[in-house]
């Protein structure tokens, strides 16, 4: 049962912190888009790239959580 708790805690922690990181990035991007609408396209491309980088760490943890859950 404690291993199940560890799996849940892993996913919860990584979700919280990656959400905070992505929120900072998206907020700043929105601010800059509102300030200079003519570069909105460039900002959006860079933002998606950055969000994908942050998302990757979450997903590594997700795969690790599956492995922990099935005890491989």
């Amino acid at each position: 049962m404690s291993s199940l708790f560890a799996v849940g805690l892993t996913l919860a922690l990584v979700a919280v912190f990656s959400a905070i990181g992505q929120a900072f990035a998206s907020g700043k991007a929105l601010e800059s888009m509102a300030r200079q609408p003519e570069i909105a396209g460039d900002v959006r491309t860079t933002l998606i790239l950055a969000l994908a980088m942050m998302e990757a760490l979450t997903l590594f943890t997700f795969v690790m959580a599956i492995l922990m859950w099935t005890k491989i």
């Binding site: 396209g41 994908a52 990757a56 979450t58 997700f62």
Partner: protein, 256 residues
Amino acid sequence: MYFLPATIVKAAEHATTLAAEAQSGETGLAAAMADKFEELNHVLAHLAPIDKFQIGPITITSTILNTWLLAVLLIGGCYLLTRNLDFVPKKAGQKVLEMAVEFIGSLAETVLGPKGRDYIPFVGTIFVFILVCNLAWFIPGMLPPTTDMNTTFGFAICAIIFVNYYGIKANGFRSYIKHFYNPLILMEQFTHAFSLGIRLFGNMFGEKMVATVLAILVPLIFPLPVQILGIIMGFIQAFVFTLLTITYIGDFVLGH
């Protein structure tokens, strides 16, 4: 690389034991959940690719069959749509295809500059194929090939090989090999391939897992938002894979 089916089978066994425990317990929530666990077991067993048949030492799984089917559909559809092209597009099919090419071309141009249009054939193929693989979820009875780790790592390794090939082709072998004076660049090739594969697999598998479990527990209305998110997610993941591939090409082609 074949550990994923084993993982899912283990998870299915886990669900079976949970169901047995819940059935042996007293009445109340545990007994009510027993049926749900049984269904979960059923679905988890079907999330794994099934072995269809065998050619020599190679096992052909359902993932490979689905990938071939989608590839044949794409090739046949594009062949039918581009048989007799007009200079000014009149037919709907040609308009849609030109929009797709233009989308990829403008994406490559923003990252690589005017040379970006040379890379449309490879990058566009990857985008369209991954998009179709992600959205194959909505064809009844078909498991999206991208929920299998073998497919996504196949895409990723293919992309990295082509990135290096384009690096040699654009600037010549001598200036290509100069990149590797920094040993971190060599290691980067492996981490790029790994992260591309894991990102696509994790997103698609997680999305599908969440939607499946939610559809078992609350079959009415609640899975709908998650499935709409699945459409958007399939598009975004294909876009991100393409964008990262273009960026990696840029690392070699544009120079430092």
